[in-house]
């Protein structure tokens, strides 16, 4: 299974995402922002980082990269896409996911080991978890507060599209403690915390993040 990992200027966690794909048993394929071709990958990860320095708004400039034009069409056609942190911001800016991510309510960048509850296993990226499973993965963001209007939030809740929720501490002021959401079809998932930093016991607080990557590989094999 070939999982593409996009590098934008300023992407930082692209190598980590590729490593997580490999540890899960997949083949990581590097995709370049300026190349509109997805090179036949079976799924795509938009990694964390500060694309274009995040100078305007996180993800605002990356959204217009050539690769995104192709990716938006492919995602609308069902291609599995996982956006982590900056990748989540790019997905919202691209309108593949509703809502937006705003400055943390603390006004500080925050890096912490975050407890989450998996709220939906009906997505391409969470099928290997159990509903209600609690996991600990790193979280690191300056603009990670998830906002959307009440109707959108109700819709997300009602349709089971809240994928993960913060437990114990809401680190950034996200509405309804939302840490991740999916599109209606479940192929596109955006997540503020970083599962790719929790795939090896030596370098992460746990290996709880690995199942995001085994989920997609299992799903692709079964499909």
């Amino acid at each position: 299974m070939r999982i593409g990992v996009v590098t934008f200027p300023g992407s930082l966690d692209d190598h980590d995402a590729a490593r997580a794909v490999r540890i899960a048993g997949g083949e990581a394929v590097a995709l370049w922002h300026a190349d509109a071709d997805l090179h036949g990958v079976d799924a795509v990860v938009l990694p964390g980082g500060f694309s274009y320095g995040d100078y305007l708004r996180c993800g605002a400039i990356a959204r217009f990269a050539p690769v995104m034009g192709t990716l938006v069409d492919a995602a609308n056609g069902g291609l599995p896409v996982l956006g982590i942190c900056n990748g989540f911001q790019v997905l919202c800016e691209s309108h593949l996911l509703p809502g937006a991510l705003v400055r943390n309510d603390s006004l500080h960048f925050v890096c912490r080991d975050q407890r989450l509850r998996i709220e939906s296993t009906d997505t391409a990226w969470t099928s290997a978890y159990e509903i209600g499973q609690e996991i600990v993965v790193p979280l690191k963001n300056g603009e990670g507060g998830y906002v959307a209007d009440e109707a959108t939030l109700d819709l997300l809740e009602g349709d089971g599209r809240v994928v993960a929720r913060y437990l114990e501490v809401n680190p950034n002021g996200s509405r309804r403690d939302i840490a991740g959401i999916s599109n209606a079809r479940g192929n596109v998932v955006g997540l503020m915390p970083h599962p790719e930093h929790a795939v090896e016991p030596l370098t992460g607080p746990s290996t709880d993040g690995l199942r995001f990557f085994t989920s997609i590989l299992k799903g692709l094999v079964e499909a």
Binding site: L56, I61, A100, V102, D105, S106, L107, V147, A148, G173
Partner: protein
């Protein structure tokens, strides 16, 4: 050289933690009676040539897509000077 200034503000219903922080600080530093503070962004563009209707339309389009995120922000073009 033409000049265009665009202001971008968070929509009123979106929480503005930076504005809130400034509000608190202004009060502590002795400015009484501050009811609210909202922090916004502005973009001052220097453009070669004229800003005709077509160009203004393009600027409006980009102000509403690139410079602001309509989900959370509003924009106004505050100034257009030749």
């Amino acid at each position: 050289m033409a000049r265009v200034v665009i202001d971008v503000m968070l929509k009123p219903e979106i929480l503005d933690p930076q504005g809130k922080a400034v509000e608190g600080a202004l009060g502590r530093l002795g400015l009484a009676g501050v009811a609210s503070v909202r922090q916004g962004k502005s973009f001052a563009l220097e453009l070669e040539g004229e800003v005709d209707d077509a160009r203004l339309a393009k600027i409006n389009e980009l102000a509403g897509s690139l410079l602001s995120n309509p989900v959370i922000e509003d924009y106004v073009i505050r100034e257009v000077t030749a």
